[in-house]
Amino acid sequence: MKKYSPPKNINKSQTVKEMNWFDKLAHPGQFLKWSKYLILPLSLITIALFGIGLWFAFFNSPEDYQMGDTVRIMYIHVPNAWLSQFVYMAMAVSAIGTLVWRHPMADVSMKVAAPLGAAFTALALFTGSLWGRPTWGTYWEWDGRMTATLILLFMYLGLVALWRSFDDQLRAAKLIAVLTLVGAINIPIIKFSVDWWNTLHQPSIISAEGLSMPASIYTPLLVMMLAFTFLFVTLHLVGMRTEILKRKADALIRKSVSQTGNKGVGK
């Protein structure tokens, strides 16, 4: 059974009114209170963005002069590829929160983000492969971008497995935070691989010089990127709330078992 103890940086004698905004953000009970008001607006924004994005993608964007209609795969491939890296960077920031500030929500954030990141990375590889076959003539190429993204998927899966293998989630958080930060070296490798090495993969479409495509193509792309980002934020928020409830239930069961010896409680 997983052990859970209250965050160490929360002063138990401190009342909610005495907390500053950061403490309120950090306190799991307070997080549950304020975050519930965000779920519906975030869900509605996500649905609206997907509706607009898909309409643009299929009904209001031209085929590419080179790739033809397969350019429409880009509208789901690039957002998933973007999220595969963005989620990992969010985990790395959370890892710093765990190691430096012992932020009580940081390890919850890390844990919930890992399976989401794994799913988005798998989708980036899946859609990239299906896009590659008609445009490059191959489903897969062992080049820098694709190989580093595959490594990223394995890293996500490894982190998910680690979270599940530890009984003590607080100890797990410290170890996983260190591993997450070490693994963050892979993100710039993925990002700049297309500049460093010869590859079939096209260069970055978004750079310091701006977007290297016409408005009719980057509009659906940007809307879909926003839609997937809001999907992640919504799922992450709900997932964090669920993880707090899970730890709360686990703690109550442990307390009950230690008091009564009844191991069947809450199963």
Partner: protein, 60 residues
């Protein structure tokens, strides 16, 4: 102006496009469903514990 005919005709590589979108839809709905079911499960666990009188001092 919306052109449904050209939008529905996805060209010679339509299969690749359709499978890509179906795969993404399947996994996305899976993530959403998994998140909702997990949330309901944990809420039910807590409600069951509360029904048995097991709760934190601060919740009493």
């Amino acid at each position: 102006m919306m052109d449904f005919n050209s939008a529905i005709d996805l060209g010679p590589h339509a299969t690749f496009i359709i499978i890509s979108y179906l795969g993404v839809a399947l996994v996305s709905f899976g993530l959403i469903l998994g998140t909702i079911l997990n949330s309901k499960h944990q809420k039910k666990r807590l409600a069951d514990l509360e029904a048995k009188g097991i709760r934190r001092k601060s919740d009493k």
